[in-house]
Subunit: 252 residues, 4 copies
Amino acid sequence: MSFTEIVVRKDVQLENAILLEGLPGVGNVGKLATAHLIAELGATKCTEIYSSHFPPQVLIEESGEVRLVNNELFYWRGKKDARDLLFLTGEYQGMEASGQYELTLKLLELAKEMGVTTIYTLGGYGQGKLIPEPRVLGAATSLEMVERLRKVGVEFIEGEPGAGIVGASGLLLGLGKLRGIEGGCLMGETSGYMVDPKSAQALLVTLQKLLKIKVDLTELEKRAEQVDEITTQLREMESESPDEKQDFNYIG
Amino acid sequence: MSFTEIVVRKDVQLENAILLEGLPGVGNVGKLATAHLIAELGATKCTEIYSSHFPPQVLIEESGEVRLVNNELFYWRGKKDARDLLFLTGEYQGMEASGQYELTLKLLELAKEMGVTTIYTLGGYGQGKLIPEPRVLGAATSLEMVERLRKVGVEFIEGEPGAGIVGASGLLLGLGKLRGIEGGCLMGETSGYMVDPKSAQALLVTLQKLLKIKVDLTELEKRAEQVDEITTQLREMESESPDEKQDFNYIG
Amino acid sequence: MSFTEIVVRKDVQLENAILLEGLPGVGNVGKLATAHLIAELGATKCTEIYSSHFPPQVLIEESGEVRLVNNELFYWRGKKDARDLLFLTGEYQGMEASGQYELTLKLLELAKEMGVTTIYTLGGYGQGKLIPEPRVLGAATSLEMVERLRKVGVEFIEGEPGAGIVGASGLLLGLGKLRGIEGGCLMGETSGYMVDPKSAQALLVTLQKLLKIKVDLTELEKRAEQVDEITTQLREMESESPDEKQDFNYIG
Amino acid sequence: MSFTEIVVRKDVQLENAILLEGLPGVGNVGKLATAHLIAELGATKCTEIYSSHFPPQVLIEESGEVRLVNNELFYWRGKKDARDLLFLTGEYQGMEASGQYELTLKLLELAKEMGVTTIYTLGGYGQGKLIPEPRVLGAATSLEMVERLRKVGVEFIEGEPGAGIVGASGLLLGLGKLRGIEGGCLMGETSGYMVDPKSAQALLVTLQKLLKIKVDLTELEKRAEQVDEITTQLREMESESPDEKQDFNYIG
């Protein structure tokens, strides 16, 4: 018996909307990009999703108040050419395969009801090495979608990612296709060793063209520079001690 | 398919009652404190909860009789200023996330029916080092609750515990908040290396103020002294063999 | 979603019957004893239980035919003083806690319908060392049952087994008690290192008194002697190489 | 809560059909043989099976399009003496025992509806050493089936495979027998170290007689030769460095 409860904080109806998924994943690229868009566009929280597929855990806010781990939806009404947006973010993806499937199916149903007709999932593509100039790689539910993404600079490389896309970013597209919702995945290249705001920045440069929106990327650039500094220091330490190569861990 | 069966041994209706949770956890602080309160106040068992979320195991009593592992509720009717109390204790927490969620949701429903309006969850806060003077740290479902706990000496430290609260102590608050029940968590500081009656004692000093009750703590003090002696001996052994630091294990 | 299917090969109604459980466990003591009783008494198979709580596996018989792993019931109609018997045996216990609970609950329901009023579960009690003269230890659902077992030589030692009884042998008693069926567990002492026919033999000596039946134990004695020989050889090898003590593994 | 969705792409009714299962397994023997038959016979895809018992993963096709991992059915209408065939293949078997059982039960129901009366499951039998001349070993649901397989050259060796047959190849026979569908398993001997087209080829030689069909095996022979070359190289490397024996891993 599983438990999933959708709490509607604000009842919102969107039109021909785009769902943007940015849950935690490789390099946290998708989550960073989504969080940045939510903040810069001033999107509003409308829905909370609680589930036994998330860990049995509360987080503690600065005020001392507890908050049960969840996923959340934020909405933003489109302006000019830009379509309505619905953002999916949270602290965790569903645990285990059955949890991933159940949450994704419930979310697709909810998104359809709210007016979503397209899904873009955002993630990182771990390359296992430092990536000075991250590209944005893609996959999509149809050839039309492949073309639409290619036009804004998303690259499609045959056989990559070789293992396909695992987790919410893949499942929202795969099950979305089964449910008749078109979509695509945008993956910012990243080392996979650390949280990567530079990759998130590259993702957002492409995403702005796709969504026909314009946001300030300064904040993300600053964070990217901080990470660059740390990386440089680590590299220097590495070159000084050649015996202990590639021994720096994931830095959150 | 999961199995959970609530066996009502005594049908009890309480008024504006407080649920005190003391299931096993870090340092067994919550369980020790709850067991002590049940014994000193002479609380009465009213309910047994059996579930496939507990291990498939019977315990054997001194008489040779078997007892299926379970969780149990004990009640105590308030006197003077003290409100009615309902205690939750047992040998195990639910296994796996889904088990934790299911048991907590069933328990919240049951507690509401029995008249519970407030939940205090009791636990230990593992510091990874010996704590001569354990403080009591807190988290709560609302700012009013934070203030109520602070007034009786509970400390709120920004960003602690950093990982939030995992298990029954967290979930009862998180899901309780969703179900409209206010609550707070009281965590006695503890090393995390051994069962810690001293931390349970500190917790009870604070809890007496909060609950407006008075219980004898002598029994717990004696156990704390015994543990202190063992700890001192271990420290001496440690200082004699400086090469093998921090190598003593969890002592149940 | 779980699958459990009870296939009734022969519709049998028993009277005031005893269920004897002998599923695989420590030293396979319970399974050996049950298999021996089934063979010597000439009990008849009446029921097969298939379930997704068993591994997804078929076994291959000498003829080349496949057989899905299952649990099975055999019955024997009592004679003179001996009550009707129903035997539970199989290749596996249910996997995971939820599987153990579900199978045990279904089995209790079935056993009740078939006329079972008492349950004896048979198992081994692993002592971690060679046991030349295995005793039979016990646990039971009531003081009356404790006495009944003690009268036929079952020993009750305070605080043993310290960890209680895990698995089908424990759960049948614990859940049986909840469902109003009395019962007891008989545990033959065993090293826990190998399949132990000698412990099964000791169990059967006691069980014959309890069940008021008489069976030939020669076959089990022979197997016990074979294991004794292997053990003696292993001990000799051990004493010759004193540096590699206790390094022989479980021998099935 | 689990999710399984059967998508019928083409509504097909077969007559007295044979289901051939070739999901991934030891040496991928069954999958290779099935894929070869589908290609050579020109069988047509009719059904897709999606399930939360498969990993939450999409694969990416050369075009950049995503495809949710699934199992698929292909059909081929029999000619002359050959009966109708239904092929089951896919990227994964169901994960976990409960998933294997649920998927197999759903598939048996579906296959019966589509007209299947016999099941042959195809797999590899890992011998842990290189097999120059792989035999085809068998197991079956009845003595008649054992004879039918023996007549076309399938060997039945007492006590092999000792561990029985685990996974879809076993479960389709075991549960099929419970549901009244006859069947057999054909296992090509293989080392178990690498994907083994030679074993698949041996399997198909036997299978052609059983199914009364004729297919070109050239493609499979070529792949077998390639693997042979790699194996020879590895053996030579091995004999040159005698200290690091048997240290080559599974080669997909």
